[in-house]
Symmetry: C2
Amino acid sequence: MRPLASLAQRLAVPANARAFAVLTRESINPHVLKAEYAVRGPLVLRSVEYTKRLNNGDKSLPFDKVIPCNIGNPLILKQEPIEFHRQVLALVNVPGLVDAPEAQKLFQPDAIERAKFYLKNIPGGTGAYGHSKGVDVVRAEVASFLERRDGYPADPEDIFLTDGASPAVQNSLMALIRNEHDAILAPIPQYPLYSAAITINGGTLVGYYLDEEKGWGLTVNELSRAVTEARQNGKNVRAIAVINPGNPTGQCLSPENMQEIVKFCQRENLVILADEVYQENVYAAGKKFVSFRKVLKDMGPSFNDVELISFHSISKGFTGECGRRGGYMELVNISECAKEQFYKMMSVNLCSNIEGQLVVGMMTNPPQEGDPSYPRYKEQRDTTLSSLKRRAIKLVKAFNELEGVTCNETEGAMYTFPKITLPAKAVEIAAQNAMAPDAFYCMEMLDQTGIVVVPGSGFGQKDGTWHFRSTILPPEEDINEVIEKTAAFHAAFMDKYR
Amino acid sequence: MRPLASLAQRLAVPANARAFAVLTRESINPHVLKAEYAVRGPLVLRSVEYTKRLNNGDKSLPFDKVIPCNIGNPLILKQEPIEFHRQVLALVNVPGLVDAPEAQKLFQPDAIERAKFYLKNIPGGTGAYGHSKGVDVVRAEVASFLERRDGYPADPEDIFLTDGASPAVQNSLMALIRNEHDAILAPIPQYPLYSAAITINGGTLVGYYLDEEKGWGLTVNELSRAVTEARQNGKNVRAIAVINPGNPTGQCLSPENMQEIVKFCQRENLVILADEVYQENVYAAGKKFVSFRKVLKDMGPSFNDVELISFHSISKGFTGECGRRGGYMELVNISECAKEQFYKMMSVNLCSNIEGQLVVGMMTNPPQEGDPSYPRYKEQRDTTLSSLKRRAIKLVKAFNELEGVTCNETEGAMYTFPKITLPAKAVEIAAQNAMAPDAFYCMEMLDQTGIVVVPGSGFGQKDGTWHFRSTILPPEEDINEVIEKTAAFHAAFMDKYR
């Protein structure tokens, strides 16, 4: 073929060229094209470029490191992984290691014991496909955890282990959305997984606004407004996504508020999608996490018809094992037929990764008081959570001191979401660059400081308001630097565009 | 709330009940409902039940173990994982382990070195989110592998690391399918990932028949027939899935055959989806795997407009790390816009699991001659591949000796796909039970022998023919037992329904 090819190469248009390509902007699935996912958008790509330049010795940038405050990715910012979890993972991966004499010196006895338990109960170990819903023993660990947490037993058959919460949310939306008339209620601001996945699945997002003036409060009045308007527009509202603690907004819902939401969902025939991945991340005095599952079950059997899917993850809390992709969803009051459909959807991908499943097991069934690993586990847990709390308070305070910036308390989760008032000139220049004003602000922040945050426009916000989301994850020794750099940038930005 | 709830409980219909549930057979996404995935269907669920009963000491079954021949899951059937890979995984998971003195006794020096390399180059290690396309250093390892394999350089930017090949195939289909008029060519028989994912995405599968009489050959005449008929039916044929080596059929395509397919795709404007996950599993004398990538590039620049997406996985070959969920896809001759869309789709899930990525790195960049781990790696590789070859030959021979059964050679992959002639009475009873005749046969086989195989109807087959798929994975010491049990069952089945 080679000589022929060389001939063709010399021709401007090969004789046998295709009429058109299939995967182009014009002919790719338009739902995919339309989806937006700001957490990994152009800002992140630019920050990756900057990181490469810095690593290659480039000295021309006005900063010497990139500080990723764009994504809840704790281990990249020096948070240490829980030692017990990692020891068990090492032990289950090397056949025979649990019995090696050297291993007794390297690993805690309870880690060895747990590894033996998993190896005994997981056919084929970490390298074999498991049950599409997840391995039995881990689902049993999750069920026990749910019972301890909420005071109500859970059925392991209702628990599906997943590669993090994101695919679980996406599968749920896939089951719910039949066409563009099907609508899902989602908060504004919201974590853009919801908007992206709703768009990809061809459905409609109906936003309900969280009330920034009232600490990002969620009211049933606002839910009613959103549902009524959507129905007037011919939409079939099928479910509501509630993120608690909130992302990007950080608020923790009260049980009373949640009861109202449950009643609303019963009245309006809505499935509750409870995104509870930040359940361990609650910092505000007097606040604590209560699951939708507990609230619903506390309300008694007359609410047994309220369909609930709740999501949890190993990526957040103090576990922070984002890269391992582990999580679960529990289906509560969901029909047997729908459960079978979820099983089938998951079986097309065979199973979620087994090590991610094991970390779900260890997160929900951690070392207990008296276990050899407990003191270190407790120390790591308490250190991380108390440090996150200090950092949240410090960042919120600092943002509130900036000109034209107000920032609600981070009651929970891993983010601050300050509101910024931008000068008219900045808004104008952003428009000239076809950017949202807050995207322009964040891009300038990255260019000047190396700090990566996500513009509020990526999450949705009340018209005419601008925000950015910053994680509270930079290590404590770097927080002052982040604050100083942000303050200096902000002051200069305001002066430049005043 | 409790007293109120107890009151409600005493009423037959709670006053505040919902009008209807959302996630029911009637109102769940019909595309999901319609999808079928036989590899994990009712047979598998029954086999799980049998396994539980046996584990609980149930002696009432006519077998003492379940033998899963339904799925290419080698490590569950005593194949050993590659030691080098597992050592590296253990080392990257425990901070500090690479430098522990005891580790020098437990792990090979090149495994320690590789672990250090990954730890140095992967920000945050295995527990942090990485780049949505996969970590740089692993994509570079894959690119080098592709260059060595095919003789043409690869760009790491065209390589996307994924949680196994399945989600990569699903993302590709999602990008391709816009509505029910969009069609994808897929082989009959085919691995049901394709039929399931095409259905879930709301598209149309257009089958092209592999020719059983000619060793499951693939002819362009048949492709033309399929495309022409589909277009006459108003379908917009967008892509062709080719599985090479074949699943469930085991055939290996010749480069000449693949050139014809490439020309056909250029002429007909089709994207090639090249499922090449069995590329290391070729057993037939004189056959070898050649990638679509190499064939396409060998054909020269006049074929630079043929869009190709190729898939590979760590689950197959001699690696067999199914439960770890690792794989990659390479986008060849795909527009920059579409590549950006793939990046966005993957970014919604943040990233594939990092350990799965690392095993992709080690699979494509294994120990080399002279490395301390090389002798053991070579031994494991050669033992597994030569044993698979022996088992394939043995099973095919045994199936051909059964009454009314013919079975093509397993040239590659991990399966046999014998054709079975079923007595009219069996066909009748199957119909009475609303089952396909081969599904009935396979269910009887499970009930009598504990052997789990998948009916041909789960893969598609020529009308009026019946098959089953059995993996070649039972360990050599068990193969005779599988053969004897199958033969005895088959003879009894034929006699019973004759």
